[in-house]
């Protein structure tokens, strides 16, 4: 009897997700047929998706827009990673640096990444550099904070091991402290990727010639809701893809953590 109940439960658990996805699909179709001006239907969105390849928007086809956004995020992130993790290690390791730099960082950190956008646009216009810079400045504080917290949390016994085995300060830092803090550093990297992606989309929505965010704005202003949806779905898909890639990367960088 118990067994039978269990197998019924298993079947229900397989069917329910299908029902859930169907619910969304049906809801979408129902809403779009009732209010075609507010929401395009799935078929329309798909057709619009195909048309982004044949009829380029702003002379760029969809993959071009995706690449424009991705490139900005990646360049900004690489600079933020190098400088942010470097500074984070310094702030976490050296008490004096922590006192001087940490206080300034605490001052700047509560400013949300998106709030930097207007200022950066005023300074550098709406070109490539300003987008990259927004990603950089929007993600660097989180990186510094995560890294320095990870460094500070390193168990004292690990540092003792380094001292006993004759390591100097630099060796202890590079061979023991930084690798020990790597999981928290990686947590910072993961946050920086998702917030960097959001920030670049926001920056593009506020003004850009190409990029997924600019597609959203163009669709919005041109009353082309299907285009908005194509862009939104692409943004979500790329965001999800980035986070999957990142967990794969973490497995390569921290192999001991996966056991």
């Amino acid at each position: 009897m118990e067994k039978k109940k269990n197998s019924v439960m298993n079947i229900v658990c397989i069917i329910l997700p299908v029902i859930a996805v169907l619910c969304i699909a049906i809801g979408w179709i129902a809403f779009s047929t009732a209010n075609p001006r507010l929401m395009p239907g799935p078929v329309e969105v798909f057709q619009r998706f195909i048309r982004t390849f044949t009829n380029p928007v702003a002379r760029v086809i969809l993959p071009g827009h995706i690449w424009a956004s991705l490139r900005r995020v990646l360049i900004g992130l690489i600079f933020a990673w190098i400088i942010g993790i470097g500074l984070g290690v310094l702030v976490g390791w050296n008490k004096k640096v922590r006192a001087v730099l940490g206080s300034v960082l605490e001052l700047l950190r509560p400013i949300p990444p998106i709030a930097w956008i207007p200022l950066v646009i005023m300074w550098f216009g709406i070109g490539e550099f300003s987008k990259v810079f927004i990603v950089f400045i929007g993600t660097i504080f989180g990186l510094i904070v995560n890294t320095s917290a990870g460094i500070k949390l390193v168990d004292k016994i690990n540092i003792d091991v380094g001292k006993i085995f004759g390591g100097n300060q630099r060796q202890i830092l590079t061979e023991i402290v930084v690798p020990t803090a790597l999981p928290s550093i990686f947590a910072g990297i993961r946050t920086s990727v998702s917030s960097g992606w959001t920030t670049v989309v926001a920056a593009e929505m506020l003004g850009a010639k190409a990029g997924l965010g600019s597609l959203v704005t163009k669709g919005w202003q041109g009353n082309d809701m299907a285009l908005v949806l194509v862009a939104v779905i692409s943004i979500a898909a790329i965001g999800a893809l980035l986070s999957v890639l990142l967990s794969k990367l973490e497995k390569v960088v921290c192999p001991w953590n996966q056991i």
Binding site: L16, A20, A99, I111, A115
Partner: protein, 280 residues
């Protein structure tokens, strides 16, 4: 003999305390030096003409603008207080809605298999969309009123609330559940008295992220679609080429964000402490 020892220790202790105090004093001094240098370099860079004053106003000028904005409506049409209230109203209503709906949903999803099977796929489909990407859709549906913006904030705060309460309750120690079961607790009782309390720290971490997201998304929402609020103010500052107003807005946004997160920490401390006392 013992008395003499204690006395000796006493003087050593005084020396230690003095040293401790001196070190703490030095630390705070260095903090102040850091902050002072930051503002000094900024101010000097502007007054010495190293930075273009039309792009980067001096800190004193920003400070003046903040004060001025409290009684002057120009150039964006609202005083600072009106902007702050407008922003807080939007952000908090969206945030609270997300907390009220997201946490129970996450807890139920993490505890009951059927709920997980149904809600998880829906949630996973919606989750990767950055909240600001919802803005055009929501604006087309609801206009640019309070409702629309609150809904966008809701999306941004909803995701971390659900994820953290979902994982938090799934991490409940199996032993506690078995103990409760041995003592004859019903399933709903275990959920209420074991599952929920043990997930609280994770839930709070989620609420913290949610608050940060709400405040950050609010700025984006107000920059794209609003007629009042701090985000609107800095956006106006940008179009009118008033960098002092932009930076003033950033300062106020940062300060309010910090205050909100401080309040949350206080509530968290009180709640989790209460839980500890209960278990003792």
């Amino acid at each position: 003999m013992a008395g003499a020892d204690l006395k000796l220790l006493g003087t050593d202790y005084q020396i230690w305390k003095k040293k401790q105090r001196r070190e703490a004093g030095q630390y705070y001094l260095l903090c102040l030096v850091g902050i002072f240098c930051f503002f000094a370099i900024w101010q000097i860079a502007v007054t010495a003409g190293l930075a273009n004053e039309r792009l980067l106003p001096s800190p004193l000028q920003v400070f003046e603008t903040i004060i001025e904005k409290f009684y002057q409506k120009e150039p964006d049409g609202n005083t600072m207080l009106v902007n702050i209230c407008a922003s807080l109203q939007v952000a908090l209503s969206g945030f609270l809605l997300a907390v009220v709906i997201g946490i129970p949903l996450g807890l139920v999803m993490g505890w009951f298999r059927l709920a997980e099977a149904f809600f998880r796929p829906i949630f996973e489909l919606v989750r990767p969309v950055p909240p600001i990407a919802w803005i055009p859709l929501v604006v087309v549906w609801f206009g640019i009123g309070l409702q629309a913006k609150a809904l966008i904030i809701f999306f941004s705060a909803f995701v971390p609330c659900v994820i953290n309460s979902y994982t938090g309750i799934q991490l409940t120690n199996r032993t506690y559940i078995n103990v409760a079961r041995t003592f004859g607790a019903s399933e709903t009782e275990i959920f209420r008295k074991v599952g929920i309390p043990s997930s609280l720290p994770m839930v709070f971490a989620g609420v913290r992220v949610a608050l940060g997201n709400s405040w950050s998304t609010l700025v984006a929402a107000e920059m794209l679609a609003a007629t009042a609020g701090l985000g609107y103010m800095i956006q106006q500052g940008r179009t009118l080429a008033r960098p002092d107003l932009v930076i003033a807005g950033m300062v106020v946004i940062g300060a309010i964000g910090a205050v909100l997160s401080g309040i949350l920490s206080y509530i968290e401390k009180r709640l989790i402490k209460g839980q500890k006392n209960e278990s003792n």
